[in-house]
Amino acid sequence: MVRLSAATLISPFIVLGLIACGVVPLFWFMVTSGGFHASQFDASTLGILWFTLKQALLSTGLSLCLGLGVARALARRRFAGRTLLINLFAVPQALPAIVAVLAILAIYGNTGWLANLINVYGLGGIVLVHVFFNAPLAAKLFLNALDGIAPERFKLAEQLLFSDFDVFKLVEWPTLQSAASRIGGLIFLVCAASFIVVLTLGGPGATTLEVAIYQALRMDFDVGRAISLSLLQIILSFSILVLASRTPFRFPAATSLTLLRFRHDGAGLIARIMDFSFVLLAVMIVLPPFIAIGVYGLPYINFSAALLEATAFSIFIGTASAVVCLGLSCSLARNQHHFQRLVSSMGLIVPPAVLATGWFLAVQSFEISVALSLCLIVALNSLMALPFAVAILAEGFASLGVQHQRLCAQLNIKGWSKFRRIDFPALKSAVLHALLLAFVLSLGDLTAITLLGTQGVITLPALTQQQMGHYRSHEAGGTALVLTLLCLCLASVAQFARARDD
């Protein structure tokens, strides 16, 4: 069903336009200022590529496994603290990398609560922090996919006396498989582009492509090398996404009576032990760093003017980015072909440092005001959150079902009233989820502010950065706690709004 109407082309046009606005000026700059040197790649490039692949694959694999196990447990069981855990899963993405690293070090570091349990300085630590960031995200996205399966299927499975394994294989897996390839692709991109975590815990031996790009663009200001390394990163990301998007067969969504969701599978002892272990493992990985943030941050929360200002800017930027991101993602999520998927992932494929620098070149003849800075920050953030929002909304659109659409066509329900009465109620939960995730992802990002410079714009992560830059790492802990609480509040509000409908 490929309908290329004008409306469906607006989003790709905007996204690709924004990417071009970054890449073209930088390319032009390279051509006019010395050009592309030969021998951009040497033996070290291969080592860099290998390390990038190794750490990203490990991090992605572990995040997916843990996320999948936890999502299944959360989907079929109700227990005290379940909602809180799901809400907490929304928060790690909002933390600036260094805050997450410090929180993990408070547990496993040399003077941590569980010192010497594992060696965090090296590949182990890098992967641990990446799992802390991404396993909760994977769990939320998998849970979202599982919730999209019509309850009738589970009822049918129960009537047919399916074993737990059959339920997994025949009911859950077809949905999970396509979700896994998509989520895996995105998490891989995020981990491959990780920078602060890799440098802080890995040291000079742990050079990823992103580190090399940063060095080329910042220390050496060698635009040619930066672009050629970016090309390498783009090719790598591109291949991963193409591999991941070879999505296998998937059930078309059937009309559902939206029955109450009761699942009776997984009653056996082994299933219980498995679910319990996965939830316990997730709690053990996700919860302690937040406890550390709370313990070390609480005495240092200082409600200064700077903190309030940063909170206000953060809420504004987060909200604006989430709304723009949602606007862009609707038409991209509706038609799920390779083209749309690729377009939606552009913000992760093209290194943000390259984009931001190119954008700066594009707008430099204008007066860079607060308003313009805000626009650029919001644009970069929404591009980076776009693939995740699209992933969530795609599940929502898939659950609308083909029959629904046919029925609407028969009854001549279309346009605004179709959207308001038929589509929106079904999509509401996905929309809220996408908004929340885009908000949280935009909050944590520092790339835009760091590269474009602050013109009086300061967000909570930027404030923690400033405080650390002035010896005030304790106060930075307080600011990080405020950031955490803000995200937790929002996640609870979104959860509450969704629960009210059910």
Partner: protein, 331 residues
């Protein structure tokens, strides 16, 4: 409705008048102008004596400033750039956008004196190994002792590819060991806990207690003495000298506000500016102050010998030395 319209119009014309003041655009690094930095009070005291307004444009650090100038070239909107250091002034000079500062260099008080007529120092600091005296009773007294010390006592460094202090330590090693720097790095490697992307990450890890030593400044202990009333963190005095960082400013030749930019650079070496440096930028003042330095500064290490490469040497060799470092620590 009409009243609202008139009110709006008058508001617009009023702000129009306010904006008509001469505006001096200064590019600087972010921590200089943050709430905790010296920027806000310096802006206020300069604006008192001129019918003008300072507009700060804050970027990450000195290297980010240089890159911004490279991107903008001759079309830069900056009138003054404040926050480059001597490791990158050669590259800044080669851009050909800076003009003569026109300030009497005899007013500059930095170790080794100052003669450059294009860039003008506003503060300086010697790098040092800062240690936690609760954990280290006998600190190293030379770079040689640091390199050969107990590998169980770790140090946190900064990455020379991403950070200015990181480059500072690399240059320090190079100025002491010369051609044997790679061997020294290999010996030091087991003592390095990690190489953080920047000073703030490294220092935060140090405060968290991850390692008993960090690469920072001689002035760092002053912060803890003044703001936290503790002398737990100390700088180790090295007999073979300390590497120096001098932070400078310059004015752009193409700036339409030459007179005002010149006035600012003169102001920069005056007490009104310099008084803010020690306790807000935590560096040593490069000019006359009107109030004595806080007592804590009297207790700081006073390096007997200063190590410093010329900007030309750094610019010529930086890439090669970084490659050498990368090979040595990974080998």
């Amino acid at each position: 409705m009409r009243k609202v319209f008139i009110a709006l119009l008058s508001l617009i014309s009023w702000t129009g008048v306010a904006v008509a003041k001469e505006i001096l655009t200064i590019y600087t690094y972010e921590s200089f102008v943050s709430t905790y930095g010296p920027g806000p009070s310096i802006k206020a005291s300069f604006e008192k004596n001129c019918d003008c307004e300072i507009k700060w444009v804050a970027l990450g650090d000195g290297v980010a400033l240089l890159n911004r100038l490279k991107l903008e070239g001759k079309n830069s909107k900056a009138d003054v750039v404040l926050g480059l250091d001597t490791n990158i002034t050669e590259e800044a000079h080669e851009l050909g956008v800076f003009g003569a500062h026109g300030v009497n260099v005899n007013l500059v008080k930095v170790p080794g004196g100052w003669t450059n007529t294009e860039f003008l120092p506003f503060d300086y600091g010697h790098f040092a190994i800062v240690y936690d005296s609760d954990k280290i009773k006998v600190p190293p007294t030379s770079l040689e002792e640091l390199v050969n010390g107990d590998p169980a006592q770790k140090i946190i460094l900064e990455d020379p590819r991403a950070s200015t202090p990181g480059l500072g330590f690399l240059l320090w090693m190079k100025s002491v060991y010369g051609d044997r720097a790679d061997e020294a790095w290999k010996k030091l490697a087991p003592r390095i806990l990690t190489t953080a992307p920047g000073w703030s990450e490294a220092y935060a890890l140090f405060i968290k207690g991850e390692a008993p030593m960090v690469f920072s400044y001689v002035t760092s202990p002053a912060y803890h003495m003044i703001e936290e009333k503790t002398s737990r963190y100390k700088a180790a005095e090295f007999s073979d000298g300390h590497y120096l960082q001098i932070e400078v400013a310059g004015m752009l030749e193409a700036s339409p506000h030459q007179a005002l930019a010149h006035q600012f650079l003169n102001f920069m070496l005056s007490p009104a500016f310099q008084n803010e440096i020690p306790v807000k930028n935590w560096m040593m003042p490069a000019g006359e102050t009107s109030v004595p330095l806080p007592d804590a500064f009297g207790q700081l290490v006073k390096p007997a010998k200063t190590l410093l490469f010329t900007p030309g040497e750094v610019s010529k060799n930086r890439r090669e030395w970084i490659a050498e470092w990368l090979k040595a620590v990974n080998g």
